[in-house]
């Protein structure tokens, strides 16, 4: 069989440090200084002598990744956030150039990264299908021939001549996905889009992906959802910090990923190298998800309370310190934020903390989360003064909902929370 994708020693280097200059604009003084010095800076940048370059750090988002993929194979890509999965897909779909290495791609690459790209709110559904199709590289004749199929798939045929700005977000997504799903490229790249839309629609999308794979097309599938990876792919690669750790039959790769600790199985430990040396006063040590018995777990039961424990070292006394937890869905929507000194008495006692080793522990009550996977971020800062540490994607955990309210119906429920509400039913009249 012919090779569809051949990746050789791909590396991608990004500049970091640009964000720092952005935040400097918070102060008027900086704005003025920046404005006055702008012409000099631009002149320096133009002749290639930027003084900013010296402060810039470079980071390899991908390094020395090589693999071949045969035509018609479905390859899963797993790895934690920041492992380089998206960068790899961006290189394969030619959005960005690699810094080193070469890729040979045989055929058209269609990616479901691009759902709805180029949609214009003022144009009707019909017009947007043509527009979006053209952006994805479809010929007009090709769109004509698939038009009815796209409309059927999207389930918005009634509103096809309405401007999409009048669409609900669900309709909008369905239409956008329908166009992308009918592109029929030789190589399809799918990145977590299965998270969009309602459950029924997700099922349709997975079905579509299965069809594509059965037609002998090549598929690259990135997901945090291990059961989807296991179901849809035969082989998978594991990425970590931009490097490819292994390529193996899916079951083996997933086992490796889950057991190697990168899957963040209920616990995250920070090494010295992970932590910026700039903030010497605060060193994060570990973050743990614990069930009631005190066992560290990757999957919690929604019907039981769960404890999040963040351990850290203060190397000098810090005033106004607060340690916070952010919990969000895998799509990045925040569910809640909480700080260890939210409570008035804790605030009084721990606003100033002397050097030493600490643990901040929070119990999340039962009946909060719905089924799914959630991300915990941690943050340590003095309000308005300084941020000592931040890791937005420190740890992920799964929620099992057996016994949760409403599970007798066995249908998925929308929304990230699944509270046990105090319902009352009264009969008012006969």
């Amino acid at each position: 069989m012919a090779t569809a994708i051949s990746v050789k020693n791909i590396g991608k280097q990004y500049k970091i440090g640009a964000a720092e200059t952005k935040f400097r604009y918070n102060m008027l003084r900086d704005v003025i200084v920046d404005t006055v010095s702008a012409p000099i800076r631009i002149a320096k940048a133009m002749i290639g002598k930027s003084d900013r370059k010296q402060n810039q750090n470079f980071v390899w988002a991908l390094k020395d990744v090589s693999f071949d993929l045969e035509e018609g194979k479905v390859l899963g890509i797993v790895g934690r956030n920041g492992a380089g999965k998206s960068t790899l897909l961006k290189i394969l779909s030619r959005v960005t150039e690699p810094t080193t290495g070469t890729v040979t791609v045989r055929g058209r690459v269609g990616s479901l990264l691009e759902v709805g790209t180029g949609f214009h709110p003022e144009l009707s559904g019909r017009e947007n299908i043509y527009m979006n199709g053209a952006i994805l590289g479809m010929r007009r004749a090709e769109i004509d021939s698939k038009f009815d199929e796209i409309v059927d798939f999207s389930e918005v045929s009634q509103f096809i001549d309405t401007p999409v700005k009048r669409y609900s977000s669900g309709m909008y997504l369905r239409l956008a996905f329908a166009v992308a799903a009918h592109l029929e490229p030789e190589i399809l790249v799918v990145d977590e889009v299965l998270a969009v839309g309602d459950a029924e629609f997700q099922k349709k999308c997975l079905g579509k992906m299965g069809d594509v794979a059965q037609q002998g097309r090549t598929v690259l599938f990135v997901s945090h959802n291990m059961s989807a990876i296991l179901r849809l792919t035969q082989e998978a690669i594991v990425l970590n910090k931009g490097q490819m750790l292994m390529r193996a039959p899916t079951q083996q790769a997933v086992d490796f990923y889950l057991s190697s600790g990168q899957s963040q199985a209920g616990e995250k430990n920070w090494d010295e190298q992970d932590v910026s040396q700039a903030n010497a006063e605060f060193t994060p040590l570990s973050l743990k998800v614990k069930e009631r018995s005190g066992k560290v777990v990757d999957t919690i039961r929604s019907t039981e309370p769960v404890t999040l424990e963040f351990e850290y070292q203060l190397n000098s006394s810090i005033t106004g310190l607060r340690v916070g937890l952010y919990v969000s869905t895998m799509r990045g929507e925040y569910i809640f934020t909480s700080f260890d000194t939210d409570d008035a008495s804790l605030y009084e006692n721990f606003d100033t903390r002397s050097a030493g080793r600490y643990v901040s522990r929070a119990e999340i009550p039962a009946d909060i989360f719905n089924e799914g996977r959630y991300m915990v971020g941690v943050n340590a800062s003095s309000f308005g003064v300084k941020r000592y540490f931040m890791d937005e994607n420190a740890l992920a955990f799964n929620v099992d909902i057996s016994g949760a309210p409403g599970t007798q119906w066995g249908e998925p429920r929308v929304g990230p929370i699944r509270p046990r509400l105090n319902w009352q039913i009264e009969k008012l009249e006969n």
Binding site: Y14, A38, I42, K90, I91, L92, S93, R94, V95, T96, E97, P98, T99, T100, G101, T102, V103, T104, V105, R106, G107, R108, V109, S111, L113, E114, T117, G118, H120, E122, L123, E127, Y130, M131, A134, I135, L136, G137, R139, R140, E149, H182, E184, E186, D211, Q215, G216, R217
Partner: protein, 281 residues
């Protein structure tokens, strides 16, 4: 029902580009329909949810012409080589309008479509190109008004505009596209372009013989004046349509040379910056 088209898929090589990138005209050809769709979308969306709709394409140049007529003809009484001032000004406003649209829309095109740039591959040249082409529709509408004005003033243009006018229109497009290529690529990194555009447009208008005749510039400054490529375009339009000026002389060739230089260098600058667009935008 989904049949796979049985053509041999073409192979794409992805590697870091070094030095001056090739223009990659093949991809531009493959994506030619996208240019059409982008232009169509720009036109379609431009006057959506406006009360007057396409009438704006008429109102804008006509109002400018009326203001110019009042200021420069009635008040300042500028010489127009015997041509009724409204026609004289409007002939220049045609290419100028095209240029301003291209300058403004084209320079912002990459940043305005950053969601496309960061998510999918297509030849980025398409964005500034389609902004410039979209301006041609307003140009066509304004041209109809000019024909109306000529009927009103019973002005008969020379027959050779059949071939001279398209050439000068091409020069206008090349100039506009060249500038748009430079500014759009710079704008990706330095948004200063956004801030500078209104000022640049205004300054450039004064430096171009739109409201006045190029003949008011004294002889020894003519060559320096023609370093502004739009001076060549506007003078060319007046020569082709109204028969004023000297026609193709040294000053015109200087303007043409500058236009082509801006265009070619713009193409290569754009292509060399293209690889970093998705990362820096």
């Amino acid at each position: 029902m989904t049949e796979i088209t049985k053509h041999e898929p073409h192979t794409v090589y992805i590697k870091p580009s070094k030095g001056i990138a090739a223009l990659n005209l093949r991809d531009l050809w493959i994506y030619r329909e996208l240019v059409f769709f982008m232009v169509w979308r720009d036109i379609k969306v431009k006057y959506k949810q406006t009360l007057l709709g396409m009438a704006w394409a008429v109102i804008q140049p006509v109002m400018t012409m009326l203001v110019f007529t009042f200021l420069f003809d009635r008040v300042a009484k500028l010489p127009t080589e015997g041509i009724p001032y409204p026609i004289f000004a409007f002939t220049a406003l045609l290419p100028w309008g095209l240029f301003v649209t291209a300058l403004n829309q084209g320079s912002r095109s990459l940043v305005a479509h950053n969601n496309m740039v960061t998510k999918i591959y297509f030849p980025r040249l398409i964005l500034p190109m389609s902004s410039v082409f979209a301006g041609l529709v307003d140009f066509a509408i304004a041209f109809v008004i000019l024909v109306g004005l000529m009927f009103y003033y019973q002005f008969v243009p020379a027959w050779n505009l059949i071939w001279t006018l398209p050439l000068f229109l091409l020069l206008a497009i090349i100039t506009a596209l060249g500038v748009a290529l430079w500014l759009s690529a710079i704008n990706v990194q330095y948004r200063d372009v956004n801030q500078a555009l209104p000022f640049l447009t205004q300054f450039w208008l004064f430096a171009t013989p739109v409201a006045y005749s190029a003949s008011v510039i004294s002889e020894q400054w003519q060559i320096a004046y023609s370093l502004n490529p739009m001076a060549g375009v506007v003078n060319g339009f007046r020569w082709a349509l109204l028969g004023t000026g000297n026609g193709p002389d040294i000053t015109l060739w200087v303007s043409v040379g500058i236009s082509i230089l801006i265009f070619i260098s713009g193409l290569f600058y754009f292509r060399s910056m293209e690889k970093t667009f998705a990362d820096t935008i």
